[in-house]
Amino acid sequence: SFIPPALRGAEGQKRSRQSDFGVRIPRPLGNGPSRFIPEKEILQVSKVDPRTQSIFEDAFAALGRLDNISLVMGFHPQYLESFLRTQHYLLQMDGPLSLHYRHYIGIMAAARHQCSYLVNLHVNDFLQVGGDSKWLNGLDGAPQKLQALGELNKILAHRPWLLTKAHIEHLLKAEEHSWSLAELIHAVVLLTHYHSLASFTFGCGITPEIHSDGGHTFRPPSLSQYCVCDIANGNGHGHLEERRGNHQVSEVSGEVEVLMERMKQLQECRDEEEASQEEMATRFEREKTESMLVATAEDEECVPSRDVSRHFEDPSYGYKDFSRRGEHVPTFRVQDYSWEDHGYSLVNRLYPDVGQLLDEKFQMAYNLTYNTMAMHKDVDTTMLRRAIWNYIHCMFGIRYDDYDYGEINQLLDRSFKVYIKTMVCSPEKTTKRMYESFWRQFQHSEKVHVNLLLMEARMQAELLYALRAITRYMT
């Protein structure tokens, strides 16, 4: 009643105009930030935890939006803080690359995994910082300098072990299109960041925000309950799935207990019986080759909801090809080139402060624990976390001399391995079924935790290969 009549009139007019002229009102597709995790649960987090709340506020203040990724990561505020700080530094703060280059590299990296969510997000950012919209027509439209990065992007995303110093040299010595070392480091960090973030996005089933492409529909809500992506992934029957999930829980109860029992056993028996060195070596090799054979999703082809493939070349180049051919992944000994000793120094030298930020983020992800497992409290999960981390590195051929790879087989069951493998190697094929079929009794926050581990381990693995190649080039 305090609204002046004139204004009220205007508002009324507007409303009537909307109906009269058929303004289309966008409606959200899907429910909440993630297709896998009930909206209620995610929103609960920020309400309960003041820390998460304040991180969200900061993120919103900094970016003017709060993306769904942050919302889902809100389960783990400590990590989220570190993640956002790093991402903000990489995209907004002082650095060798100009802003639109950064976003474009983000687009390139995300497009490699057909992650339309991240692509859309950064297409907007890219245009906002004054990027040339012609570049978005495809890599051909971008400057030659960025085109040269395509090869690195491709290799890093799918077979980082093939990276050699020749690739680096090619980028650094291209006359007027050449990269400087500092720029290259920045680009590499961005690429690996977005490759792994794409993994997370698919792994947690992040849905597009309402304002971005594929995030809304103009159809009246009654017509369809299903979002395009769900259909594409064969998840149309969300409700059914849920019910079945609940049903299964009762069947597999005890899964957690079995896992805990195994951890306990390993802890105890390790001191007694020592495997011979040869045995250890073969265990690693076995795990490595086996990880190649773990079938990722059934061969259904994913339908990208937006044509993202134009942002990269050679779409057929993927992880799949190589595992089929049974190529051999060479072993990378982490004792000879580790993040803590070597990678950090190199990054921090060429791109100050980022080494530190990444170091904190890796440590945060690696050491994050609440000492809980599903409904059990006070559990030391170090062993399990280390197994997951090392399994991912193992898939990339990275070996820890001081780790018994037999443990992995004991702790990670097959469905979990399938999930990890899919998420890390071809994340676009992750389905809700996969997400639900591993660790059924665990809570969603714990599954998100697993996703964080996967994401960081993958990023570190890619970084290690890239940085090693750069180091070799420099010496």
């Binding site: 060195q277 040869e278 250890m280």
Partner: protein
């Protein structure tokens, strides 16, 4: 204690000799160690484990310890140590977590003695007790240190660092029971070997991992540590709190540090990444390495002094698969290549210059500078052994004071303050600035402004002459007399033809009425105005006084309609250069820009080209209005000239005032360069507002974004003294409003001013008002606050 004496008297028995030499290993080395009598060295790595004999001329492979068909991971060594008491005893740390001892006295091929697999992660370091034969210490990635008695099958004690990985462990040289351990989280712990329950002392030495530590061989309390933060620090451990007494900043993370034997202040370091050299530092002069060994092609992984009492031999192993013996005399001395001269400007334009004394000593006029000894303090008290000292450079410092100079920049400050760069019509800006320049006694700048107004204004506006316009001859038909002739003068290099020798080149702009100005290249303050002083510059023998000038103007008026067409066809190609002795250049200049002066004296000795321009004088009148773009080349030239003369202020001010009229004429990089220089100058004079205005008005993207950097100010909460991460006015930790105005007791969310003495403050306005009536702090703390 019989063993002790054996160690200390070890040297006399054998004198070491050799030369700088190297040998190829089959694989990268991770660590090396020498035996006590300095005759053999062991090299260990992932794929290598060998003993080499050190002979006079070369390394000789003595023994390969990697035996067996399938070398196990126990051979993959992260570290190796040769026992300093028992020459048959070695220990290695394996990457898989095993600690292995080797007995060279064994008759079989496999010399492996004991195998301890107690560590769960990679073992980073093993260390024998310096005097106790059977005591071995290990430090591992799993955060534990273990002490082994080699007569037993298991460790005798385990020390838990309660933190992350152990990177290095070192027994103290002098303290029988003490050892130091360095950690990945930046801490260093001191332990008593008898008390495994807790450490004696812990302190944070570095940010990030501490990769190495080393006890000083002579001085009981000194511990050197090296970290990923690129620093080497020396700690005095004798006091209650570990005190950092020296710090050396290197250029890469420090992987190893080793004190140099027999030299109290020297230590050697090598790096883990990027940098392949080995440095020997004198910790008292941390800015430049004392000596450098540059032989390795990949990172150096292990360094060790060949004998514990001989400072001249250093052994090193590297990832490039070589093993080197470095002779100290062959080391390169960076100080020899360093520039021994220094030069610095003082705040008020004083110049200090330091150089080798020998270079300046001839100068008898030099006064000793008041304020102490000119020479460096003398560091070395021992008798001079030249190779063992920093080159003793005694430098002389000369200070050149400038009395005038403190005043000299006044014009800059005033000009910066008074100039108007935007907010008014173009013509007014120019007039204003011209007036400012005139008042500051800079007639030439002033004239330039006036001319700019004339060149770029609408012809319609021209009828109102600016305030600076001194019309001795009354109002002249400006556009006409100004038409083309002066353009010619402005763009050419001037020659004094009657003498046939070149004169100083000048931009020579002639305003329609009376002023002829030139830019004084030596930047002396322009105190003369359009009279002899400047005429000298330009005309030399054919000197003009005012009358001549005026008569020239009359001439112009007489042949008012002159117009020289060819000018247009000669774009400017040359920067005006102060090069009096370049005949061919001048020749070219002549050809490029024919003289078009109305001065009779010059016309007399015209070159054929000039006569061409004479002919052109009789051209009929063209439209009196010249398009503004026509002047752009001149203005561009003029701007570059100002910038080159050091008056970047003028260049930038004109650039801003002219805006789009001229911007496209000058390439972006030059513009950016000018802006940067001017902004830098402004900031040095603390003209923040002006500098900000300039940044705001600039059109270079690189400049405008300057305003967007470093815009964050971090503050601490006034209650809990912790940094406030979130918002400026409320603290996340103690949930109190941190910045409360001392006057009105409300939260300040906008401009906040506070006293640096008592930390009270409040709204800017409130505090201002308060201070009008009182000089005490509004909070009542009794402090006499000062807000400036």
């Amino acid at each position: 204690m019989e063993k002790m004496s054996r160690v200390t008297t070890a040297l006399g028995s054998s004198t070491i000799s050799g030369r700088t030499m190297f040998c190829h290993l089959d694989a990268p080395a991770n660590a090396i160690s020498v035996c006590r009598d300095a005759t053999q060295v062991v090299v260990a790595g992932r794929n290598i484990f060998k003993i080499y004999g050190l002979e006079e001329e070369q390394f000789v492979e003595k023994l390969n310890l990697r035996v067996g068909r399938k070398p196990s991971l126990n051979f993959s060594c992260a570290d190796v140590m040769w026992h300093q008491m028992e020459e048959n005893l070695l220990a290695t740390a394996a990457t898989n977590g095993a600690v292995v001892t080797w007995n060279l006295g064994k008759p079989s091929r496999n010399k492996q003695d004991q195998l301890f697999t107690e560590h769960k992660r990679t073992v980073n370091k093993v260390c024998f007790h310096p005097t106790e034969v059977y005591m071995l210490l290990s430090g591992s990635q799993d955060g534990y240190m273990k002490c082994f008695d080699l007569r037993k099958k298991e460790s005798v004690s385990t020390f838990s660092g309660q933190s992350e990985s152990v990177r290095d462990v070192q027994f103290s040289m002098k303290d029988y029971f003490t050892f130091a351990a360095s950690f990945e989280n930046g801490n260093v712990q001191l332990w008593d070997i008898r008390r495994p329950d807790r450490y004696e002392r812990m302190f944070t030495a570095h940010t990030g991992p501490v990769f190495c530590c080393d006890w000083h061989p002579d001085d009981r309390g000194w511990l050197a540590t090296g970290g990923r933060d690129k620093m080497v620090k020396v700690w005095d451990m004798t006091t209650n709190r570990a005190k950092e007494i020296y710090c050396v900043q290197t250029i890469a993370s420090v992987a190893r540090v080793k004190w140099r034997p027999e030299r109290k202040w020297h230590l050697a370091t090598c790096s883990m990444m990027v940098d392949h050299n080995i440095y020997v530092w004198d910790i008292r002069r941390p800015f430049i390495p004392f000596a450098t060994f540059e032989e390795h092609k990949d990172v150096t992984t292990g360094i060790v002094w060949r004998h514990q009492h001989d400072p001249y031999f250093l052994l090193s192993g590297s990832k490039d698969s070589t093993l080197y013996q470095h002779m100290f005399k062959d080391a390169s001395r960076p100080v020899d290549r360093a520039n021994p001269e220094g030069l610095c400007f003082g705040l008020f334009g004083d110049l200090a210059f330091a150089a080798k004394e020998s270079l300046i000593s001839g100068d008898a006029n030099r006064k000793p500078y008041p304020g102490g000894d000119r020479r460096y303090p003398i560091f070395f008290f021992k008798k001079p052994d030249l190779t063992e000292q920093f080159a003793h450079v005694s430098s002389a410092l000369s200070v050149f004071e400038s009395s005038l100079e403190s005043k000299r920049m006044d014009w800059f400050v005033k000009t910066a303050r008074l100039y108007l760069l935007s907010g008014k019509p173009f013509a007014e800006l120019c007039d204003h600035n011209a007036k400012v320049a005139k008042e500051l006694n800079r007639p030439q700048v002033s004239t330039t402004w006036t001319m700019l107004r004339i060149m770029f204004s609408d012809p319609a506006n021209l009828s109102t002459p600016g305030p600076n316009h001194i019309g001795k001859l009354g109002t002249l038909p400006l556009m006409n007399s100004f038409s083309m002739k002066e353009m010619g003068m402005g763009t050419e290099s001037r020659l004094d033809r009657s003498k046939g020798e070149s004169r100083q080149d000048n931009i020579h702009l002639d305003l329609g009425n009376s002023l002829i100005n030139n830019i004084c290249p030596n930047a002396e303050n322009e105190e003369t105005e359009g009279s002899e002083g400047q005429a000298e510059y330009m005309f030399g023998d054919a000197e003009l006084d005012d009358d001549d000038l005026y008569s020239m103007e009359h001439d112009n008026q007489a042949e008012e309609q002159e117009y020289t067409l060819p000018q247009e066809a000669f774009p400017l190609r040359h920067e005006i250069m102060d090069n009096p002795l370049a005949p061919e250049h001048l020749q070219q200049d002549k050809a490029d820009s024919p003289q078009a002066s109305g001065n009779e004296a010059e016309v007399m000795c015209l070159t054929p080209i000039e006569s061409f321009s004479l002919i052109s004088i009789s051209q009929p009148l063209f439209s009196p209005h010249l398009p503004a773009p026509f002047f752009c080349p001149v203005v561009r030239e003029m701007l570059s000239h100002y910038a080159e003369q050091g008056d970047v202020q003028m260049a930038v001010s004109v650039l801003i005032v002219l805006g789009d009229r001229i911007r496209k004429e000058i390439d972006d990089l030059t513009q950016e360069h000018w802006y940067m220089s001017y902004i830098d100058l402004l900031q040095r004079f603390e003209l923040w507002n002006v500098s900000n205005e300039v940044i705001k008005l600039s059109t270079c993207s690189a400049i405008t974004c300057l305003n967007q950097t470093s815009t964050t100010l971090h503050v601490n909460c006034s209650n809990c003294k912790r940094p406030m991460s979130n918002r400026g006015w409320i603290c996340d930790r103690c949930h109190q409003c941190a910045s409360v105005c001392a006057v009105c007791h409300h939260v300040v969310k906008g401009l906040f001013v506070w006293c640096q003495g008592c930390s009270h403050g409040g709204h800017l306005e409130h505090v201002k008002n308060w201070l009008k009536s009182s000089s005490h702090c509004p909070a009542g703390c009794g402090h006499l606050c000062e807000y400036t």
